[in-house]
Symmetry: C2
């Protein structure tokens, strides 16, 4: 109780973490900038990147599940999905159990693009981990803890279950 900043009993620190806030801002900006140049070649933007990434990660994903992950509307998705399908990066397949569904999967061309984009971002992480001496799992835990608590479970599931078909509702 002596007015020293950081003394016990104050709860969370009062000083704004300007360094972390600004580092996060610039780190993310550069993190998403690598793919931009590659995407330009196809007249694609970041919205296309997100779609092809998550479709690549979740073959035969349902449109509704993709919308849940991206948190956008079907109208927003439709625009970029049209481009990706027309240019042969993604294909649609009728659901077997439920023929209303249009299951989305990347083509070989789409997979190649998704892998190239992931490779660029992976290299940034690899370099950052090495240069900063951060244990990889420490970085994972830190970023995970930055996510809203009520979204974490779903993110964990998404990351660990990727590649498996998205479970359908009980029938």
């Amino acid at each position: 109780m002596n007015g020293v900043p950081g003394a016990a009993g104050e709860g969370p620190p009062r000083e704004p973490a300007y360094d972390l806030i600004e580092l996060m801002f610039f780190a993310y900006r550069d993190f998403v900038s690598d793919p931009d140049h590659v995407l330009e070649r196809f007249q694609f933007g970041r919205a296309h990147h997100r779609v092809i990434h998550f479709v690549h990660r979740h073959p035969e994903i349902r449109v509704a599940d993709l919308l849940d992950i991206l948190r956008i509307t079907k109208q927003s998705l439709a625009r970029v999905l049209r481009d990706l399908i027309e240019q042969g990066f993604i294909l649609q397949k009728e659901g077997q159990a439920d023929r209303r569904q249009r299951l989305l999967t990347v083509t070989e061309k789409g997979q190649a693009l998704a892998l190239e984009l992931a490779r660029l971002q992976t290299e940034r992480f690899t370099r950052a981990i090495a240069a900063s001496g951060t244990p990889r799992d420490q970085a994972v835990r830190f970023l995970y803890a930055m996510i809203d608590p009520d979204a974490r479970e779903e993110v964990t599931r998404m990351i660990t279950q990727a590649g498996r078909a998205v479970p359908q509702k009980d029938r």
Copy 2:
């Protein structure tokens, strides 16, 4: 030379770091979402947030320097700056040495908003650091290392020099 993944001589790992890539995506999404609700009350968006943040951090900043930090055009800045000035969050002052300059500073009202927004994001970092057991300076080093090498020097200067007047060019 036995085909074991991760064996020496392969250079950087070939496996895409999907977990880190997706965690970064979701972490950033939530990181910027806290301020959104506060900004809504003033009909402000994320562009307003960035401007008020950096003006708060750099009192009497020149328009040209703000544009450099944000990497946007003056036309883009003009739109949000107009709102912020009209609603009394930022004020312009003629430069003393150079009267062409319009030095930008937050008002008290603007400072209050900037501090509130920074507080929300700081709390997220504080919780994440505690929950993940990441030393604070480890998080700083990691995020710093995620930034493009040729941008790091400027970011360091920006973070450490904040609050001081931006140095003018030699005269």
